[in-house]
Amino acid sequence: MSEPVLDVADLTVSYRASGPKGSLFPAVRGVSLRIERGGSLGLAGESGCGKSTLANAILRLLPSDAVTTGQVRLNGVNVFEMRPGQLRSVRWTEGAIVFQGALHALNPVQRVGTQIAEPMLLHKTQASAKDAKDRVNELLEQVGLPGDRARAYPHQLSGGQRQRVLIAMALACDPDLLIADEPTTALDVMVQAQVLRLLATLRAERGLSMLFITHDLTVLTDVCDDLAVLYAGKIVERGPSTHVFTAPLHPYTTALSRAFPIIGDASSRMSPAGLGGDPPDPANLPTGCSFHPRCAVATERCSTVDIELIDVGDRREAACILVEPS
């Protein structure tokens, strides 16, 4: 039996308000998820819903004042119990992150080839600087850039090219799990399509597992087998991605999926759909279901009952009292 690449069990992450005695604000509130070897999960939600906190928690990249409970198992080992040396060896080789702002994630005064080679030399996955250099060229070509771009500085590359450099860097040590945090949000549609196709190819060729984070449901549906929707630090719906997108069960997922119209669909022509209000403040969460103040179909019970995920069959779950269990 093969164990999942990633197994997150009842994870909570809280940030402390100013000072060591400040109260704790929950950013992630009891999230459980798993990604099987070669599987891909898309995580969707608005800014402030906790999706980046969750991504960073997986490789223990959180600020030191963050308080976590629960477990994150990467290839079966609890990340929170790793010693510093072990943690360092796991980063890049077992789990790697592609961050959103490619310009800020790269060192402006170092050639991109040097930056891609750095994790390989640190982790000694390549025996010599010469081998690392060959591998850099190979990686760059894999992500669709000519090998000689290794000598370029970040400012000499376009946004799409820099994003590819970050992907090449994340792949440098052949990780089992790739975490992509809004990897295409800043890119043009055509470049986005190039990057998404690249990720799909890498998954197919190397059996890479992926956690893909974005607020754009349509992108996730394109790339991921499964989809989880995060609201106020909790998963409110999950299931196979096309089903979640085309037939959402939770009213929040409905609002999110309607925000991106399908071109040619007469019902969205000249009628943009949105969702009023703001995501709740983690310091002041609503009672009951945290979505009820913005929910179009909320009932009186919603303000008192905080519902957990309900299994509705066909691998689908939703946290809403209007959902019928299977």
Partner: protein, 319 residues
């Protein structure tokens, strides 16, 4: 029908680079026109030229009697053309109250008559009701969607005939997006305003635009009603753009290789064609491949126009 703006063969060149390279289009009264294309296609330069912030190298832009020609930079930006930028948080002064932000345009114009009433009216028109609830607050005290509404109110207080919106929802969350787009559409329907929206988001165009102009390398390559352009695209570039919109599963994806060419080094050679028709040999089969490499196609067609040698051949081949 009097056009709001007429752009005639407009060119904006930065040295050798042709950011806008011969664009002609009209903006009709009470319409939303979406200018779509990748980064570097010249769409932002074009609306800056319409606003009067960017002098033309040649050509003309007429807005109701006034003509902007040649290299002259306009000192006075006309207040009946207003701009809405991408990021509302960056566009609002964090130390000013909502009232001061909305009133600023009027004050700069030296027009303080009935200021409070007009600010209140602009706020309610932008959906911030009742206005008294907002006037005394600061940008950080309101939500992202409300901030973009304040930016729009600041433009509306000047009673513009034309709003130029540069990626108005690109930096907003999915949930707020629809709210702001709905407001833009209702302003056009209720007040007769026209909007030119620059975007790379075809969903935005489908949501609110009457017409679409697709730009590539400083030119309009296809223009027509939203339904024509998005449901029956004829130019290969428009088709490629549409095919990569996620969830357009019914189309075969045509991912163009590389990025938009550098306007300084436009590859007009057949050896490295970005055009899928040329690359696949389809242009050769239609007998236009030679023309594709030799001649620059002009916009052709009636109403729904495309600048492509293959389109007339393809259309005449259809029964």
């Amino acid at each position: 029908m009097s056009e709001i703006v007429r752009v005639r063969d407009a060119h904006v060149h930065f040295g050798e680079a042709r950011a806008v390279d011969g664009v002609s289009l009209d903006v009709h009264p009470a319409e939303v026109l979406a200018l779509v294309g990748e980064s570097g296609s010249g769409k932002t330069t074009l609306i800056r030229a319409i606003q009067g912030l960017q002098p033309l190298t040649s050509g003309a832009i007429e807005d109701q009697g006034e003509t902007k020609i040649g290299g002259r930079r306009r000192r006075r930006v006309p207040h009946d053309i207003q701009m809405v930028f991408q990021d509302p948080t960056g566009a609002l002064n964090p130390r000013h109250t909502i009232y001061d932000i909305v009133a600023e345009g009027l004050r700069i114009r030296g027009d303080r008559r009935d200021e409070a009433d007009r600010v209140g009216e602009a706020l309610s028109r932008a959906g911030l009701r009742p206005p008294e609830r907002f006037t005394g607050r600061y940008p950080h005290e309101i939500s992202g969607g409300q901030r973009q509404r304040v930016v729009i109110a600041g433009a509306m207080v000047m009673s513009p005939r034309l709003l130029l919106a540069d990626e108005p929802v690109a930096s907003l969350d999915a949930s707020i997006r629809g709210e702001v787009l709905g407001l833009m559409r209702s302003l056009v329907d209720d007040t007769g305003l026209s909007i030119v929206a620059v975007t790379h988001d075809l969903g935005l165009a489908w949501n609110i635009a009457d017409r679409i102009a697709v730009m590539y390398l400083g030119r309009v390559v296809e223009i027509g009603t939203t339904e024509d352009v998005l449901e029956h695209p004829t130019h290969p570039y428009t088709r490629a753009l549409l095919s990569v919109v996620p969830e357009m599963g019914r189309m075969e994806q045509q991912i163009l290789v590389g990025e938009t060419p550098d306007p300084l080094h436009i590859p007009w050679d057949a050896a490295s064609p970005r055009c899928p028709l040329l690359a696949s040999g389809e242009a050769e089969r239609l007998g236009v491949a030679e023309a594709c490499v030799r001649d620059d196609p002009a916009l052709a067609g009636d109403g729904h126009q495309a600048a492509c040698h293959a389109v007339p051949v393809q259309l005449s081949a259809k029964p």
